[in-house]
């Protein structure tokens, strides 16, 4: 048997929740899925040194869905990449389930999905979903069983033997999500996974993601440009601002738990209120919005260049 879906958080038993000054850690419990303390990230470019992230504090609890939202260049993707150990922070502390990101990556504690599905065109849909298992030496029969489960979960059971080129963009992205879930990660990192999809497909995918997350019990860090998307999916929305990239507000979303979010919610008054709250936080009008706590960082820091 391989990893267990939900972390039991044995290691750093008591989480000192005082480290996150912004909105605090909402729930006490096992080791936080993600914990960032005073994280800075600077890139050296030809135009000079660019501060992509400045003094970021964030804690994502196990099973929690957190969206990172903000304009281009606010460092939201960079933050995700730091958690995934695709980049290293310049300074500050970052841990995933109490471990260094590198250890967490090697232990396959997280699954990841990008804006580009990044499927291997020479493999069937099933082959793509099995890829992570194959890379980690899981036996053929176990792989096949897991792939069947995952394809059923994302509603692509009938397409197992198709090639990626035969699928629509939305279906390809669902394959990518199934692949990210293959190792039953307790953390899912998603970098604008629906960014390239049309609005209708996008909303359907969001509803499905809510269901999938509820079934897998994984914590999610979700990078997006879209306010309604962030509100619909999240327990908390982390609003970031650029130059230098930093967290400017954290908006808790008080909607029914992710298990019960359905299409009807999109027309609910609470949904609109939350959208408004996030929008105001994004545009810097922090006053009056519920539970917005901006961690004050040095204002007027050196200007940088948009990173993405």
């Amino acid at each position: 048997m391989r990893s267990i879906p939900v972390p039991t958080g044995s290691r750093s038993g008591s989480t000192t929740s005082a480290v996150a000054p912004a909105a605090g850690a909402p729930r006490p419990g096992p080791a936080a899925a993600v914990r960032a303390v005073g994280v800075h990230k600077r890139f050296r470019t030809r135009a000079g040194v660019v501060t992509a992230l400045q003094d970021v504090h964030l804690e994502v609890a196990a099973g929690e869905f957190v969206s990172l939202i903000g304009p281009s260049g606010c460092g939201k993707s960079t933050l995700l990449r730091l958690v995934a150990d695709l980049e290293e922070p310049t300074s500050g502390e970052l841990s995933v389930f109490g471990k260094a990101p590198r250890v967490a990556r090697e232990a396959q504690d997280y699954g990841i999905a990008f804006q580009q599905a990044g499927l291997l065109p020479w493999r069937s849909v099933r082959g793509n979903v099995e890829l992570p298992l194959e890379l980690h030496g899981v036996g053929r029969r176990e792989r096949a069983g897991r792939a069947r489960e995952l394809l059923a979960l994302v509603g692509l059971s009938d397409f197992a033997d198709h090639t990626p080129a035969q699928l629509s963009g939305g279906m390809q992205q669902r394959v990518a999500i199934a692949r990210a879930l293959a190792e039953r990660p307790s953390l899912l990192l998603m970098d604008e996974p629906f960014g390239a999809l049309d609005e209708m497909t996008r909303e359907r995918m969001q509803t499905e993601l809510v269901r999938i997350c509820a079934e897998s019990g994984a914590a999610v860090v979700f990078v997006t440009h879209s306010i309604p998307e962030a509100v619909f999916l999240s327990d908390r929305v982390v609003v970031m601002s650029p130059r230098p990239g930093r967290i400017s507000a954290v908006v808790p979303i008080r909607l029914p738990g992710t298990g019960e979010r359905t299409e009807g919610l999109r027309e609910d008054a609470a949904f609109f209120a939350a959208v408004t709250a996030v929008r105001e936080a994004l545009h810097g009008g922090a006053a009056g919005t519920p539970a917005v706590a901006a961690p004050e960082t040095a204002a007027g820091a050196p200007r940088g260049v948009d990173l993405r």
């Binding site: 990556r105 990008f114 580009q116 990044g118 291997l120 890379l135 980690h136 963009g169």
Partner: protein, 292 residues
């Protein structure tokens, strides 16, 4: 099967193109005066008399006749075929050597950026060295090699020189192919804690196939050219290179004969490229276009 039909259609088109070329040959022969076309002292079009441009049917007929006046001389066709088989064998050995060398170089250059910067210019430079200058050197080195019971033979030098031409397109094509996976695909493998070796086998090599196949075909054609040139410049007997030279000496009295040998050399290149084309059938799963 649509694949079979497409293959037949391609073969048909190639055949028609060949016929058109033959007809053009005869048309030029008929239209341009035997002495060629001159403007002052400059020759615009070459001579077209039977000695310079024998009729297509004369060349074909010559194939069926005896190679020389000797009593047991084989026909030109038989002599050309056996020479072609000899050269094809050497060229394939050279090709295989070149493919292995080219692939290793490409993997090396992909693995270390520094290696790419250090090696690639030399790879390009290597192709500017004239083969004719290289051939005697290789033969000289080979002659001094002691390989225990194994004797270094002339054909091995030829194969080595052929590989020297063949490795180049393979190295360049394979490098491009190995570098072709998107950033998202590479990061996905990294995120899944796949090491460099796993990434090479499961991602880079399969992704390289569409770039590699044309390079392998090109390598086969250059291996044939390399083998023929090396045969001539090392004085190796039995191959098509030698045949081309010895038939050319008969050109003044027997103009169709050198053309027969050239025909053999051309067919040889086609066969070599075709054999490699079969590889494409085996690897067709990997020939898909990239999807996002």
């Amino acid at each position: 099967m649509s694949g079979v039909r497409a293959g037949l259609r391609r073969a048909g088109v190639a055949l028609v193109a060949l016929l058109v070329a033959l007809v053009l040959w005869e048309v030029v022969k008929a239209v341009v005066p035997d002495t060629g076309v001159h403007l002052g002292t400059a020759s615009l079009l070459p001579r077209t008399d039977d000695r310079a441009m024998p009729h297509v049917w004369d060349v074909l007929a010559r194939l069926g006749e005896a190679e020389s006046g000797a009593r047991d001389a084989p026909t030109v066709l038989a002599a050309t075929l056996s020479a072609a088989v000899f050269t094809l064998g050497i060229a394939l050995v050279g090709w295989a050597l070149g493919v292995v060398g080219g692939l290793l170089l490409a993997v090396l250059m992909q693995r270390w950026r520094v290696a790419e910067h250090a090696v690639l210019p030399w790879v390009v430079l290597s192709q500017t060295v004239p083969l004719v200058a290289l051939a005697p050197l290789v033969v000289g080195w080979g002659g001094r090699l002691e390989l225990g019971p194994l004797q270094w033979e002339r054909w091995m030098s030829v194969a080595l020189i052929a590989s020297y031409l063949a490795f180049f397109p393979v190295a360049v094509g394979a490098l491009r192919g190995l570098q072709s996976p998107t950033a998202a695909q590479v990061e996905l493998f990294r995120a899944q804690a796949a090491g460099w070796g796993r990434t090479l086998v499961s991602l880079r090599l399969p992704a390289a196939v569409p770039h590699l196949l044309p390079a392998l075909r090109l390598g086969a054609a250059t291996a044939v050219v390399g083998a023929i040139v090396a045969e001539v410049s090392t004085g190796t007997r039995g191959g098509i290179g030698r045949l081309v030279v010895s038939y050319a000496q008969a050109a003044s009295g027997d103009p169709a004969k050198p053309w027969a040998a050239l025909l053999g050399a051309a067919v040889l290149g086609l066969v070599a490229a075709g054999v490699v084309g079969l590889l494409g059938l085996v690897l067709r799963r990997y020939r898909t276009a990239e999807v996002s």
